[in-house]
């Protein structure tokens, strides 16, 4: 592929497709929304091809590791390829709604996910403990705000000192909501600028290079 094609084709494709995707939001016209819907289908088709290439690549990389019995890699590679083959065969022969297929997923992936989610509780606790120590005045404000919101949500404050809830509700409805909206608006501008940078070719890092 010539350097011109390699350098400019991705930019041209991104610019044209990006504009169609953006235009489909404010313009309610079947011609434009139709193109944008078709582009969405293209993404699915490309992703399916990507999945196929990924599976072939996995067989090549891990098959190589197994064949050479690479230290520390070949046993996990057998487990990986074995799982891939087992899942594919089960899915194709019994269907993805079958008990065998769903049990395989639920018992392995589902259990792992639950374990991870439980673990997250402990990690969150230790992270909160570190972050909410009132060593600085900023930390103190954060700690105070957190305690107020917690007492409002539980709601313990309602039981012991109801006026505190009025204050916390005001905090949530006025300063917090205002701050949140300001951050959302500024974040939105940042996203628009980033999209413009990528679509117009000002930023080309996503193609693997700077200038």
């Amino acid at each position: 592929m010539s350097i011109v094609l390699r350098r400019y084709m991705p930019l041209v494709i991104t610019a044209i497709l990006g504009f169609f995707m953006i235009l489909s939001y404010p313009i309610d016209n079947p011609a434009i929304t139709g193109i944008s819907a078709d582009l969405g289908k293209w993404v699915m088709i490309l992703a399916s091809f990507g999945l196929g290439i990924g599976a072939i690549n996995m067989f090549l990389v891990h098959g190589h590791a197994i064949a050479r019995m690479e230290k520390g890699r070949w046993i996990p590679s057998i487990a990986l390829l074995g799982s891939l083959i087992l899942t594919t065969v089960l899915g194709l022969t019994t269907g993805i709604e079958s008990d065998q297929y769903t049990s395989l997923y639920d018992l392995l992936v589902g259990a792992g996910r639950l374990t991870f989610t439980s673990l997250r509780g402990f990690f969150m606790f230790s992270a909160f403990y570190r972050a909410f120590r009132a060593r600085t005045w900023e930390g103190g404000i954060m700690l105070g705000g957190t305690l107020l919101v917690m007492m409002y949500q539980v709601p313990i404050a309602e039981l012991f000192y109801p006026p505190l809830n009025v204050f916390t509700k005001w905090l949530l409805d006025v300063p917090f909501a205002g701050g949140n909206r300001a951050i959302t608006i500024v974040g939105g501008i940042a996203m628009i600028i980033m999209a413009i940078r990528m679509i117009s070719g000002i930023d080309k890092t996503w193609m693997g290079r700077g200038e």
Binding site: G112, F128, A131, I185, I193, S200
Partner: protein
């Protein structure tokens, strides 16, 4: 109707595009703006230096979201990865890059490879150090936690969009004694995890500024200036609109709702 109450948005988008492109061209012709120093960016260099001194690798995570219209974080993570990879290559520091979505693997691999070439050290690039760990966020997080603890990562860089398992990865980094720097461009609950677990982190628009800051390109710095001008414009619209609506004039409201 043609616009379905999004006419003002349509013209605003065109306006933003013209202004951003115009200011970017202005910057290319010599107009300069001073960007304030961003502590997390300086900390990245410190982190790489620390990894070199300790003889341990740097880990970079580019997030777990797909490349697509719904993912602004990728746009910020790529320039950051290029910057980190170039600096690691220059200092011969090992960089382990993990990928959470298959469709962006090739892009990320290419960024690391080209960064090595641009740094003048193509031999530094190791395909084995750009690793796809799995599409599921928990599978990805388990892989990252394993890498952080097995490889004794000295600096953990978490850019791009991460989901709830982010806190698990950050705590694994803390247990390994790694310097942790992160950034996220979306206002989600995970942003709080980033603030809790990272030593330094960049949030929302700071990421846009950071990618321009590290690139040093006048065009990109121009877009950061555009961002600030737009903020002033929006503040003016909000203030004027609130004032007019309070005194009973709803013209601006009607224009914006068109």
């Amino acid at each position: 109707m043609f616009f379905e109450e999004r006419g003002a948005l349509f013209f605003f988008m065109i306006f933003v595009f013209v202004v951003a492109y115009g200011i970017s061209e202005w910057a290319k012709r010599g107009k300069t703006w001073e960007l304030r120093k961003l502590a997390p960016i300086d900390a990245i260099l410190e982190g790489i230096g620390r990894a070199v001194e300790l003889g341990r690798p740097v880990h970079f995570s580019a997030g777990v979201d797909r490349a697509g219209p719904g993912d602004p974080d990728r746009g910020h993570a790529y320039p950051m990865l290029r910057y980190v990879a170039m600096n690691c290559a220059e200092r011969d520091c090992r960089l382990i890059t993990t990928v959470g979505k298959g469709d962006v693997y090739a892009v990320i691999d290419q960024i690391v490879k080209e960064a090595a070439i641009d740094a003048g050290k193509p031999e530094w690039y190791r395909p084995d150090d750009v690793r796809f760990l799995g599409e599921d966020q928990f599978v990805y997080a388990a892989g990252v936690m394993g890498i952080i603890s097995r490889e004794h990562v000295a600096t953990n860089l978490m850019f791009g969009y991460h989901r709830g398992a982010l806190i698990n990865m950050l705590e694994a980094g803390r247990m390994a004694g790694a310097l942790q720097i992160g950034g996220m461009a979306r206002m989600t609950g995970e942003l709080g995890f980033m603030a809790l677990g990272c030593d330094y982190f960049l949030v929302l628009e700071e990421l846009v500024a950071a990618s321009a800051y590290i690139s040093g390109e006048s065009g990109q710095i121009g877009t950061v200036a555009t961002q600030d001008y737009l903020k002033f414009l929006l503040i003016a619209i909000i203030l004027i609109g609130s004032l007019l609506y309070t005194v009973g004039i709803d013209t601006l409201y009607k224009i914006l709702a068109w």
